[in-house]
Symmetry: C7
Subunit: 231 residues, 7 copies
């Protein structure tokens, strides 16, 4: 029955569902898990590395974590090629804002403009939704550190701690238990590793299986910057 | 039989129904309940919060209630991403009016322009209707306080008290009984809470499960403003 | 068999019928009944109010009767959102004519331009016909008072007395019996009420169940104007 | 078998037929009969009136016979709304010619331009053919009085006497018997009435069931003009 | 099996056939036969008249034979409305050439430009091929008298004697036997009549059943001109 | 099974095949055989003539061999109307190059631009691939004499000796045996005739069944030119 | 079941897969194997030649290895005509960068722009994905020698050693065993030949079955250049 309504973004099912959007979410749920956590003085993004081969170039561009602007980083789960399009799109939004107003774009502005773009792909014919979800970590003068989850549907919401990808359900459950506000960066890393170790179902979490980004603020100058963390 | 006519907005059924529009309404009927009531000196909007998690950022942007302009607020039920597109659209309409005429847009003007936009998505191919309903509360010099209900079909109508979302039927029944004109804001809050408590089927209605906006007028200056209310 | 030809406006059936246009007419036939009658010195439009609730804003905009210009009013039956689009369209036509020629648009000009617009939606792909019928009452220097019936197909015709909507068949039969030319406004009201009472199948026709517009001419100045009538 | 090829104008059947064009012709064959005859000094167009009601405005615009320009009139059979579009189209062609060359358009020029427009609707996707046939009666300096039959397919041809609509077969048979060249207008009226009486299958042909137009030429000035005839 | 590939011009069958183009050819094969023959000093085109009625205007425009320019005439077989579009198209090509270069268009140039236009209708979606074939008779300084056959597919080729339409197979067989080069015009007429009499299967070929055009050259001035021939 | 994927150019089959492109190749395989051979001092193109009739104009334009520019000739196999479009396209490319750079276009440039154009018709919706293959023989200063084979898919490759059309398999086998580099033109003609005689399965290869073009270079001036050869 | 979702790029399957993209990958997996390896001082690309015939022009353009710019070469596997389009596209990107910035394009910039272009063909209707994969070998001042693998989906990644085409699985396994960093060019050639010999399943790997390109840097001037290698 559902089959009659599940091949186009322009068709609601009788229960008011958009199956193509739900299927796009499935493509997110096959991707490596990414988690994000607020810390005392920043936000930690950590993600499982899925492609592992000794032939892979280690020093190459990141797999899951991407810098959008000086004050915003993103973790992706889903179709990589789709993600790259949206990351370029986000960079253009951020750059245009900078050029026009001479200041960094407020984080939610960027997240919303990207989400509105995604929504269009769920309502117009001859398109499919983007098969990718994001965690955006950012910081601006208005709202301080912020962590957003942006879905293929174009929905987004702000979280203290969030997870996307293959084992996001399990990860969220663990975060509910283990996450508390005001974690130090070391405590946050320890929570993130515990969660990923469980969701990846591996005994030893080694450095080549995980990517970590830390978005924080220089305590003196107040400048926001990111750093890559190792285990 | 109905199935032959229910996959496109450009197809009437033999009884003259537009099934895709009815299905879009279903997506509204899965959303949290929102209610609006005229009070003695303003309009109260109250809505059930559906996503609840201790990991959610409490201080973040509203879930269901959005400000369009100084004198108009909206409550939404349905697909969030669709709602955001229309809220931006409404803000642009309001802002353009302000810029052109140097005064606030009359409430019904805005509601109608938005509804006309929605109608287009029920008549042209390669599109689906917007899966979202609105309650608009506003105030202008011409008609004073006004409460509109705008549907996915593009229909809209003015109400003294209205409800949209999952339990809108039950809510409307209760409002018929409990609503009277000229309620004080405290009486209105009490009616709203009673209705939501019933439709949400929860024993204790706590502050984190409900959002409330109050659109009122400064008695001295006559200026319209909104305030967030807690239980 | 009919089913092969009934899902698109661009397909004739083997008997030369356009089913989508016929189905659009069905959506008109679910709407409240509207009737129009020539009187001695004007035209009376009366319509059944379908949505009745004590929560509805009584003083709000009309449900079925709309003013197009100083000398033209319309009664609608069918999808409200579709009707609003066409009413705006008609107002633009009337306004443009006024601006261009400095005089009021002849009634039939407006009716025909609107009907031509409707026809397009019955011949081109990726569209559906407008699901709405109109009674236009107007008055101009050329033809005096005129009453037109405009259908979803784009057909229109001039009548002395006409009915559209749910019980239009019954209403027309009664009008054939009860209508005579040169009725006074009070006689016309009485005929209209008798017809609506029958088609609405209610014992007491109360003022909140009926809307009435009267388009007439000031006997001295000759100026055309409309007034809302109560029972 | 035919069914595979009969839903689009862009599909030939294996026998090289265009079913949608044939179906459009069916919609012509449900319409009232129109006939046209050359007379001694002009052309007579006569048509059956289909919609008859005492509520209908008698003095209103014609049902079947339309003036295109000073020297060209048309009788229509088929979908009225489609006909109105093409009549406006023809008037624009005629007006443009007048404006450009300062003289009346030759009749066949107009008929051909209209027919070419119709042809397009039988060859391009996302359209349906026009469901209307025409008899054009006209007079110009080059060819004198001319009577053309224009079909939904875009074909046209010149006749001494022709019939379109519901009983066109029977009417043509009678015309073959009864028509002779050089009829006086009274003889022509008598032939037309005889044919219509038979095709309409009514005992007494009364004036309200028939429309008649006579296109003739002032014997002195040579000016072409049309007059409405009664029985 | 063939059925899967025969409804669109954009689909090859597994054997590399374009069925829609073949079906278009069928619509040519229902039309009256036309034949063309080179003569000693020109080209003769002759065609069967299909529509015969005493009500038809005899003096009216030709049915099958059309003049494109001073030096090119065409005989058509197939859908008349399609043919008219292409004949206008050809006249525009010829006129544009004349205007640009001040000389008559070489015959093959015109035939090829028309054929290229036809080809497009066999390769792009949302269209059907033109259902008409042509014989073009022309004369220019480069190649003298030329007779081309242009098909719905866009193919064309030059012939000494050719036939299109309903009985083109039989006609070609007879021409192979009866045609020789260097016929006088009277001999050519006699051959043409013999062929048409056979293909039309009629005992007496009368003048109203056949149209004939003769394209020849003034022996003194060398000017090309056409004349209508009678039996 | 294959049938699900074989009606559109925009659909890969599960094995990664493009059936419409393969079907287009079938339309090439029904055409007359063409062969091309490098000789000592040029390239010989020879092709089977398929349409033979004593009524055909012998002196008319070539059937299979076409000159693109002074230094490039092409042999075609497949749908003639498609070929004509591409030959015109190639001539425009060559002419534009000449006009822009004042020198003849390098052969491979032309072949590649044409092939890129063909590729588009295998990837975009609403189109079908071109049903024609080419052998291009050309000569330029960079690479001397070159013989390219261009397929409906847009693939092309350079050959010493090549064959396309109905019996291309058999022809290629024979060429593998009989072709050697550095053939004199007479030897090349003899090889070509032997191959065509076999593939056409005729006892006596007469001059009217074969077309031959020889692209060679004047030994003194180095100028490239083409000549038509007879058996 | 899968069949419902595998004919369009705009449709996700219920598991979130894009079948058309996977099928496009199949067309890559039928192509000859290409491998790329980092060496001590450059990158080696080697590929199997699939089309082998003594009639093929040996000195002609490469089959599998193409130069994009002075510092970037590509190996292709899949549909050749698709590859040519993308290679031209890449050359334009590289040339435009050079013209704009006066310096060579960074390798990853080019790979990403090309990949973004590919992604579009997996998300928009009326298109099919490109049926081709690439290995890009390049060198720039920022990241030195780089080897990228770009897929039909638009995904790309950097490798130390990579394989695409028919036997890419087997080839990758062998590379995991045999590849080590810092190979001399002779060792790299020996590894490449061993792998290709295995995947091509031939006893003697002769020079005409393999193409090899070596991208390296002049030790003195630091200039990057490519050379064709033989076995």
């Amino acid at each position: 029955m559902a089959r009659r309504y599940d091949s186009r973004t322009t068709t609601f099912s009788p229960e008011g569902r958009l199956f193509q959007v739900e299927y796009a979410l499935e493509s997110v749920n096959h991707a490596g898990t990414c988690i994000g956590l607020h810390t005392e003085n920043g936000i930690l993004l950590a993600s499982e590395k899925k492609i592992m081969s000794k032939l892979l170039e280690q020093s190459s561009t990141p797999e899951k974590l991407w810098k959008i602007d000086q004050h915003i980083v993103a973790a992706i789960a889903g179709l990589n090629a789709d993600a790259m399009i949206l990351i370029n799109f986000a960079r253009v939004i951020a750059g245009r804002y900078r050029a026009r107003y001479g200041t960094l774009i407020p984080v939610e502005n960027l997240v919303q403009e990207l989400s509105d773009h995604k929504q269009g792909y769920t309502q117009f014919g001859g398109l499919r939704p983007y098969g990718v979800a994001f965690l955006f970590a950012g910081c601006d003068g208005r709202n301080g550190f912020q962590l957003y989850h942006s879905e293929p549907s174009g929905n987004y919401s702000a979280w203290k701690a969030a997870a996307i990808g293959a084992s996001h359900q399990a990860a969220r459950s663990m975060l509910k238990t283990d996450f508390t506000e005001g974690l130090s960066i070391d405590e946050a890393k320890s929570v993130a590793c515990k969660v990923l170790q469980k969701t990846m179902d591996c005994v030893n979490l080694t450095s080549d299986k995980v990517e970590m980004f830390y978005l924080t603020r220089n305590k003196d100058t107040g400048e926001v910057f990111t750093q890559t963390l190792s285990l």
